[in-house]
């Protein structure tokens, strides 16, 4: 395995950061400190991290309603993210967007998205621009298994293929479109199969194995940078929590959930790194402490930040 140590550690820290951030958000949401809806990424960390580990700062991503993980993996600032979740003036979107609409254009994050499948055509455009402007930038387009039944999926993959655009379509198959299991919302087992309908490569990977995701994404990014067109990567994974916080999850069998918990991507990766001697138990405690501190700092920052002025509500509709 040719991934250098620094990269592996980077991936471990990112996964840990996502997990810690999300667990804190769950806690704050339950405590009534975060308003609105939040959709947590816990359990799917390997996907965002494995893919973004192959991206440069000037590459793009489009994200989803379950976007915190993607943003952190692409380099998003958890202080600004937390402040946005609190609806504070200092947040990424000055309190106008919230969990489902966080973006950081300087980091190539074209936004989380409240519309299932809404990000796919946007990714096409970013890729078109990258190609048009003669850069070798690529776009990683994250979406769920539910979005793979939306018309935008079909239109976007077709267009990316005929224009051979530099897009990596990353389907996070967590097996549920809210409450509906995959076998009830599509008649194929592997969404990657659908790549054939657009004459592009489609691969299935274990989305809870960050190395597997990394390698699949590495190949796809290479292909995209070389101008050879898009790839569809299906990452089989599972969300540990509900569709949104407060979802009773009555629709999914306990045994199934337990099975998946055993495949927790972080635990697996941690074990591997220990076995490889890249991490020691003491490193793990240290790293976790550091991350914990960062998250606490983010919360403090958010809590201490002011709310926006009501009058700001009228700003930012148009560019003057």
């Amino acid at each position: 395995m040719a991934i250098e140590k620094e990269k592996l550690l980077w991936m471990y820290e990112k996964m840990r950061t996502i997990r810690a951030f999300e667990e804190k958000v769950a806690e704050l949401f339950a405590a009534g400190k975060i308003p609105g809806f939040v959709h947590l990424y816990i359990g799917e960390e390997a996907v965002a991290v494995g893919v973004c580990a192959n991206l440069r700062d000037d590459d793009y991503i489009t994200s989803t309603h379950r976007g915190h993980g993607h943003l952190i993996a692409k380099g998003g600032d958890i202080k600004l993210m937390m402040a946005e979740l609190f609806g504070k003036k200092t947040g990424y979107c000055k309190g106008k967007g919230g969990s489902m609409h966080i973006a950081d254009l300087d980091l190539g994050i074209l936004g989380a998205n409240g519309i299932v499948g809404g990000g796919l055509p946007i990714a096409i455009g970013a890729a078109l621009a990258a190609k048009y402007l003669g850069t070798d930038r690529v776009v990683a387009c994250f979406f769920g298994d539910g979005a793979a039944n939306q018309g935008t999926f079909h239109e976007a993959l077709n267009m990316a293929s005929i224009w051979s655009l530099p897009v990596i379509f990353v389907c996070e198959n967590n097996h549920y479109a809210i409450s509906l299991h995959q076998h009830k919302h599509m008649h194929v087992t592997d969404i990657a199969e659908r790549a054939k309908a657009y004459d592009i490569p489609g691969v299935v990977v274990d989305g809870n194995d960050v190395i597997a995701v990394y390698e699949a994404a590495e190949a796809a990014v290479k292909r995209a940078r070389a101008g050879e067109g898009p790839t569809l990567i299906e990452c089989k994974t599972y969300r540990h929590r509900g569709h949104f916080e407060g979802d009773p999850m009555v629709y999914r069998p306990k045994e199934e959930a337990e099975e998946w918990m055993k495949k927790d991507p972080i635990a697996r990766f941690e074990a591997k790194l220990l076995e490889m001697g890249i991490l020691t138990p003491s490193d793990i405690t240290r790293i976790q402490e550091e991350i914990k501190a960062k998250v606490e700092e983010a919360v403090r920052f958010a809590e201490e930040s002011p709310y926006p002025e009501p009058a700001e509500v009228l700003q930012d509709v148009y560019t003057e």
């Binding site: 946007i122 078109l128 048009y132 239109e155 930012d316 509709v317």
Partner: protein, 325 residues
Amino acid sequence: MRKLTFAQALNEALRQEMRRDPTIYVAGEDVGKYGGIFGVTAGLLEEFGEERVRDTPITESAIIGSAVGAAAAGLRPVVEIMFIDFIGVALDQLFNQAAKMKYMFGGKAKLPIVVRTTCGAGMCAAAQHSQSLEAWFMHIPGLKVVAPSTPYDAKGLLISSIRDDNPVFFIEHKMLYGLEGDVPEEPYTIPLGVADVKREGKDVTVVATMAMVHKALEAADELAKEGIEVEVVDPRTLSPLDKETIINSVKKTHHLVIVHEAVKQAGPGAEIAAMVAEEAFDYLDAPIKRVAAPFTPVPFSPVLESAYIPSKENITSAVKEVLGK
């Protein structure tokens, strides 16, 4: 001065802007080899090539959605939706993505997009190819809505729209494409949000849009013979709306008639009437009147279609009504 048709004026605006700014590209169904179903993009492929003049599949969601992504990443897309009636299959990309992105992101995104489309009845194209749906887009914060009525306005407004850093929904009434008028050769802009008084008058204000501007002018000619002086105001941009010009005109004439081809209910006229009732109430000497299409889809048969589209006669009688004549 040199005369061009409405379609030629738009074509020249696109051509001149594309020469000026290499980040501008055109995409849509049949905009390339075919030159656009109504000929507005004719010759652009030959001059600018396939990279910048892109024929797309029939895939409206991806056409508008890709414009959003491309604009966010530094280009200035000008995309065409063949008929405004087709926007239904792509509306999410327009009203939840393009229109809101800047706001949701706290002002960070800049989305210089022009979505060109055609509207209007008069070709017997029936219920799915003849609609006037401008009111919807005016109701969506974050979009600008432009609706020219003359070749001169068409060129200047399209250039301004392309140079604007916001998503602009540019509506072309298909019955105007053949209309000829004076158009300067050099590029020029007409600011968005500035109405144009197409005819001055002191007795009654008629606010009309797109094709209806010309019917209003015909009506005005006729009424002039009876000594009624009609002022015809063409908003040109529907969002932002030039309230000031409309209100000043009403303050002068004390009577208001609004004419549009969209259906009356919850249409552009409702907003304009409400705005005047709120802001110029004391200047009105008579109730406001709206002349608009009835609350039905656009029928096919020529007989039914002409019964549907507001006529010069509808306008003259409305004017006489508000004047109590």
